[in-house]
């Protein structure tokens, strides 16, 4: 339940949060949607096409009708369809620009057919293919937004290339989706608990955190950590288990999101763990949401729980807490 607040930031959930429940077959695509609605974890609903829909991006008329009818029935609001920019399907070479364009078109059509106003794309699309997709997006009345996900941040060269293209093209359909995993202040405790549980040495964890706190480019930090860890005699397999630190969490200042505020269409409210007082353990939600409210952000924030990579904690409990935290902060921000 979203508290009364004057901001235009609306809450919601992405089904990605419920990967554990879904992968286990504990819930289906449909029963997840029904429970999210029943528990007031909307109103926004985001899904990942390749997660929820078998055969995606091929979607039949009957399926689209069923899906739109379900959303109508349960009273959720479609916020965003996560599509994938899969440049590396052929492991021998990356897709060409033409291939990337062709790979995105049917995904845009699927989004429109299912009733989504917005798609999330990924950096692998490259600025040129996205630029060429604008006329298609105009035809479909669909917004396209690049997710800015760790290890990227608003000033990362990969992101700057898109920002430059956006400036040239100047289309109201092109925007961004900040993922708060890019602006964390510390590594989630449950991740550290996990690596300890599989036998990663404390010295290795300390080393990884040291490298991570020193900062820098994600893959360079990973390489640097790897060299030092091997030199210290760390087990190669267990060293690799610490790599997500450099890929899932980055330390951008939350205030830097203000730079792209006018082009921010949607938010991935990434989260992992909660402290006893209800605060997120590694993301300062009070400061972060302040930036968006003060920037007059207008759109949905999907509660995006990602701890399912390393624990099987109950995602409904997690998302409920995240909604409570966000509601309380938004309420205070007025």
């Amino acid at each position: 339940m979203q508290s009364a607040s004057s901001s235009n930031l609306r809450l919601g959930s992405t089904l990605y949060s419920f990967t554990t429940e879904y992968h286990n077959h504990d819930y289906s695509f449909e029963s997840l949607i029904r429970r999210i609605a029943a528990e007031n974890l909307g109103p926004g609903l985001e899904i990942v096409g390749f997660q929820s829909i078998k055969g995606f991006p091929v979607v039949s008329d009957a399926y689209a009708d069923w899906f739109r009818g379900l959303i109508d029935e349960v009273g959720l609001e479609l916020s965003c369809l996560g599509i994938n920019s899969d440049f590396g399907i052929n492991r021998d070479r990356k897709m060409t620009e033409d291939e990337l364009f062709d790979y995105h078109v049917p995904q845009l059509h699927a989004a429109a057919k299912l009733g989504f106003p917005l798609i999330r794309y990924q950096y692998g699309a490259g600025p040129e293919a996205i630029k060429r997709l604008v006329p298609e997006a105009e035809k479909l009345g669909l917004k396209l937004a690049l997710e800015i996900h760790a290890s990227h941040h608003v000033q990362h060269p990969v992101i700057l290339a898109f920002r430059e293209m956006y400036e040239q093209v100047n289309s109201p359909l092109l925007g961004f989706i900040p993922d708060f995993g890019a602006s964390v202040h510390s590594v989630p405790p449950s991740f550290l608990d996990f690596v300890r549980s599989i036998g990663v040495a404390e010295s290795m964890i300390d080393l990884a955190l040291e490298v991570w706190h020193a900062g820098g480019n994600g893959s360079e930090m990973a390489a640097q950590f790897y060299q030092k860890a091997v030199a210290m005699g760390g087990d190669a397999d267990l060293i690799l288990e610490l790599f997500p630190i450099f890929g899932l969490f980055s330390r951008q200042d939350p205030r830097d999101w203000a730079e792209i505020m006018p082009q921010t269409f949607h938010i991935h409210g990434k989260f992992f763990d909660f402290a006893d007082d209800g605060a997120e353990a590694s993301i300062d939600y009070a400061s972060t949401l302040k930036v968006f409210v003060e920037g007059d952000f207008n759109g949905y924030m999907s509660s995006e729980y990602e701890g399912h990579h390393w624990t099987d904690a109950d995602a409904f409990d997690k998302v409920r807490r995240h909604h409570a935290l966000a509601s309380s902060i938004l309420h205070k921000l007025g």
């Binding site: 990605y16 990967t19 879904y22 992968h23 077959h25 990942v48 390749f50 997660q51 078998k54 055969g55 995606f56 994938n84 920019s85 899969d86 440049f87 590396g88 399907i89 052929n90 492991r91 990924q122 692998g124 996990f194 599989i198 893959s219 397999d237 690799l240 288990e241 997500p244 890929g247 399912h308 990579h309 390393w310």
Partner: protein, 125 residues
């Protein structure tokens, strides 16, 4: 990271030609078969010869060295695939330690590949 997800619960089936191990994709979304490697299978600690293993999914039977070329076929994240093995002499109702290691190369991420090994004690059915 999803270390328990590769082998499905109750995933050891005795067949007329040997046995099959039920496997799941240790990832949150569907992936093309081209980015999945079946790295190894162990039975009671013994690494088995992979040359005759067949990957069975949605009515297709695919040799392991053919997976990399299958760029247009997706493994839906909820679907179970079966590793069909010559492994004989298994008995229904007996338990075996089975370990399967898969490697995945998520195609939207630069340089990421993840190796996931699941080990389970399975009662053959």
């Amino acid at each position: 990271m999803m270390h328990h997800r590769v082998i499905a619960d109750n995933g050891l089936k005795v067949t007329s030609g040997g046995c099959a191990v039920a496997v799941r994709l240790p990832w949150y979304r569907s992936l093309p078969l081209s980015v999945v490697d079946v790295v190894s299978i162990e039975f009671d600690g013994r690494v088995i010869d992979m040359s005759n293993v067949v990957f069975q999914l949605e009515g297709s039977s695919i040799r392991l060295d053919e997976l990399r070329a299958r760029t247009t076929e997706n493994w839906f994240v909820l679907d179970t695939a079966y590793l069909v093995l010559n492994e004989k002499n298994l008995e229904v109702g007996k338990e075996y330690d089975v370990a399967v290691t898969l490697a995945i190369y998520p195609p939207y991420l630069k340089d990421l590949h993840r190796v996931v090994r699941t080990q389970k004690r399975l009662l053959a059915h």
